[in-house]
Symmetry: C2
Subunit: 187 residues, 2 copies
């Protein structure tokens, strides 16, 4: 039996790029063909259909994101400093010329219609991130404060994912974050 001649993860990374930037609806399978270099038949054999390819792309993106968050939090001297690092990293991203928010956030907004499976997937993954924050916070604070602060962090991160499109917004966001989360160990 013949083995697939492409690297699945490489293909997914290219699909992530396309879907992330264009969105589910605006990205065509023709563009996927062009971006990956695969022929339609190969794509459909490997991922079933557009939705399947999108789902696996989103799952890979979410996995990478969660891993990165865990890595930063684990490597930081404290949870607060870890969060500050993540926030600053998000600000830096927003300075990029073709800034494109967050794939999970974009998907949740685009595919919100009743019971869409991809919307649900994005929603679940974002919730996982919040739960991770909360579990760290509960080592320092009571369950109530931890819950509130986890939500507060999420609100600020989501806010940045939208506000980041405003021109020259980096410094304003830094100010707004300090204003909203004074309990973080700002440098």
């Amino acid at each position: 039996m013949a083995r697939a001649q492409f690297d699945r993860d490489e293909v997914l990374d290219k699909a992530i790029d396309l879907f992330w930037h264009r969105g589910y609806s605006a990205a065509s399978m023709q563009q996927v063909v062009q971006a990956t270099g695969l022929k339609p038949g190969s794509i459909y054999l490997a991922f079933e259909n557009k939705e399947g390819l999108f789902r696996e792309s989103l799952e890979r993106y979410a996995g990478k994101t969660l891993a990165r968050v865990k890595e930063v939090l684990e490597g930081a001297p404290s949870f607060g400093e870890g969060i500050c690092q993540i926030l600053e990293s998000n600000i830096k991203q927003s300075c990029d010329n073709d800034y494109c928010s967050c794939f999970l956030v974009k998907t949740q907004l685009e595919l919100a219609s009743e019971g869409n499976e991809l919307h649900q997937l994005a929603s679940d993954k974002l919730n996982e991130i919040e739960a991770l924050f909360r579990s760290y916070l509960e080592k320092e604070f009571g369950p109530e404060v931890s819950g509130q602060r986890a939500v507060s962090i999420m609100l600020h991160i989501f806010g940045m994912r939208v506000y980041g499109y405003q021109p020259d917004s980096a410094d304003r966001m830094r100010g707004g974050l300090r204003e909203g989360m004074p309990w973080l160990p700002w440098a």
Copy 2:
């Protein structure tokens, strides 16, 4: 010479509904035809093309939104109480079964690609709202604090527009908002 037989604003309201929920790409002109009851030719004569109809829909939505914000702020006993009212109203919206974030936010995220005119329009309108908040804040606080708090409000509102999709998130958002904006006159 014959006059148009439809009410432009009524048609726009139906277009807003469709574009808001589905997004620019996923909403088809066929669906516009169905939703408005107009024939393709009439739509194209009145709005030139899909982009024209979308632009005018977005402008109308933004106008209504800005007017509503001004109305609430003008009618409230203080700016802080007005903001609290707006925030609570946003939370209430998020409880709706087919909650759909904010048309401006969704458009900004969907159409972010390089120099898109509709993306820019959404961005400008959102910036107008921030400027309005800032101008009110500057009556009470110095320019620096006012700028920071205006950004903080926007970050929280944007955050809610994403977080609102999480199930049963209303009370958690209320807590997160208090946590992030303790300077507001919470009831």
